[in-house]
């Protein structure tokens, strides 16, 4: 196949990571320390996610990589090629055909199934970090379930902006116990965290792995008088006309022209193939070339 061991990492390392993953699944939302390895890419490019993917991939898997919802950005393309080269696995851009999906900043619009694994790239796994700089103290707070501080952050949001302005990496409480950073996904995606698939979170630089098992209760934190609200741009996709998907805003010229389009490129393309056309879109076949 190639000069690499299957999926780049050596078997002992994969074993160590799998143990961390199993522990993470057993204690939903708990950050399991693991001995993160140097990967052939810089920190911040998804070294944690890549290690988790490498540990869960099998030769029969079909692999998909999402970067901010898109399959075709530099980051997504290089990670996909990395595993094509080092694991020889099949790759796809279609959410429904993938068995392992590595993602950065988004959850696919399409509901995941029980036989799919979603791997998140996490920059800073500790939700309390910006309020409490001490790791000793934050670990103690998790252990003793002292989460008042998390609400101080939301309080500050409301007092400064009149509303909970946290739009991404919105803190959640998993199975009534651990408060967790769902990685920088938009809060629009938070309700989707309760899903059929397995969700694994890998933070390479911070050396932490955590997980949400299927059908686990995930509650976004809020106040009684300021309930959690998933938000998106108040618009429909200009390419496929979808009303319910998370949108990117694109400036198209210097005269104030702009368009909104699905951030999930696979979801958008699938809809256009089915014949949906948005306000500024063109039928699928013509623009495919």
């Amino acid at each position: 196949m190639s000069d690499y061991n299957f999926a780049y990492l050596d078997e002992q390392t994969k074993r160590m990571i799998r143990r961390a993953i199993l522990k993470g699944l057993a204690i939903p939302g708990y950050q399991v320390p693991f001995a993160s390895r140097e990967m052939p890419m810089p920190y911040g490019w998804g070294t944690g996610g890549v290690q988790v993917s490498a540990a869960v991939l099998t030769p029969d898997d079909t692999f998909k990589v999402i970067d901010q919802g898109a399959d075709d950005t530099t980051n997504a393309v290089s990670i996909r090629r990395f595993f094509q080269k080092t694991a020889g696995v099949a790759v796809t851009e279609a959410t429904s055909q993938a068995s392992v999906i590595q993602t950065r900043h988004r959850i696919p619009e399409e509901d995941l199934r029980a036989d799919q694994i979603l791997v998140y790239q996490v920059p800073i796994p500790e939700p309390l970090r910006f309020l409490e700089p001490s790791e000793v103290e934050t670990r103690k707070m998790h252990a003793l379930e002292e989460y008042g501080l998390m609400h101080v952050k939301l309080y500050e949001d409301i007092s400064q902006h009149g509303d909970i302005a946290t739009a991404y990496a919105y803190p959640v409480k998993v199975e009534g116990r651990y408060v967790m950073d769902p990685s920088p996904i938009p809060k629009f995606d938070n309700p989707k965290l309760e899903m059929a698939g397995i969700q694994l979170f890998g933070a390479g630089r911070e050396q932490r792995i955590y997980a949400i098992p299927p059908y686990t209760q995930v509650v976004s934190l809020d106040f009684d008088d300021y309930p959690f609200q998933p938000t998106k741009a108040d618009h429909a996709c200009d390419l496929c006309g979808a009303q319910d998907s998370y949108l990117d805003e694109l400036i198209v010229d210097d005269e104030g022209g702009r368009m909104f389009m699905c951030s999930d490129t696979d979801y958008c393309a699938t809809r256009r193939k089915q014949g949906h056309v948005g306000a500024q879109g063109v039928p699928y076949a013509e623009d495919a070339a």
Binding site: L131, E146, G148, L149, H151, V152, Y155, I158, Q160, D225
Partner: protein
Amino acid sequence: MTPLLQVENIAKFYGPRIGCTDVSFDLYPGEVMGIVGESGSGKSTLLNCLAGHLTPDRGVVRFDTRSEGLRDTITMSEPERRMLGRTDWAFVHQHARDGLRMNVSAGGNVGERLMAVNARHYGEIRAEAIDWLGRVEITEDRIDDRPTAFSGGMQQRLQIARNLVTGPRLVFMDEPTGGLDVSVQARLLDLLRGLVREMNLSAIIVTHDLAVVRLLADRLMVMKDGHVIETGLTDQVLDDPQHAYTQLLVSSVLQV
């Protein structure tokens, strides 16, 4: 009457050196006790042992908890002790920066203890914060300012508000007026005296400023080299000091 705090033979050593040793006293509800002594006499060590920040090497500290009566706070589990630390106890640091979150607004600072005991209604938390800022003479329009924008005296008052918002029964104060100029000190003392009487607080105040204890404390404990050398009613100790060191301390106060 059950004492609120019972201290028996507390001792803390730093290697061969004595932090404090053989300290025993009872503190009753509504009582304010002052601990005075020179720098290095073991006042702060003692206070930190009582408040659970340091583990003493010997001795017993019992606190009259609301649910279970007298409990040994040294042997109780850490979650229980930390729970006491944010409900029934309050700790006012000498430097407000140690007791405040400097990157969180005044309102957030006051609200933190409420949120830590599961207050989840923004409007109520904010109303409570405004009420408490008012009580410590910080105007409502400063509620969204960070403590970094406050003067030293205001920071100290904010720290007091933040600590008293959950209605504690016992307040530990470590030189609450240290580093403030005299007019600000006077106002702070006035405020503290009012709050202590109004809320029927018990307090332990560590200070080296005899004027502070004269105003606030019912009882006084004088420490030197880790030992308690004299105890008694404040006026009695200050007006008729018995121990040579206490006499020195009282006579060292500068007269204007």
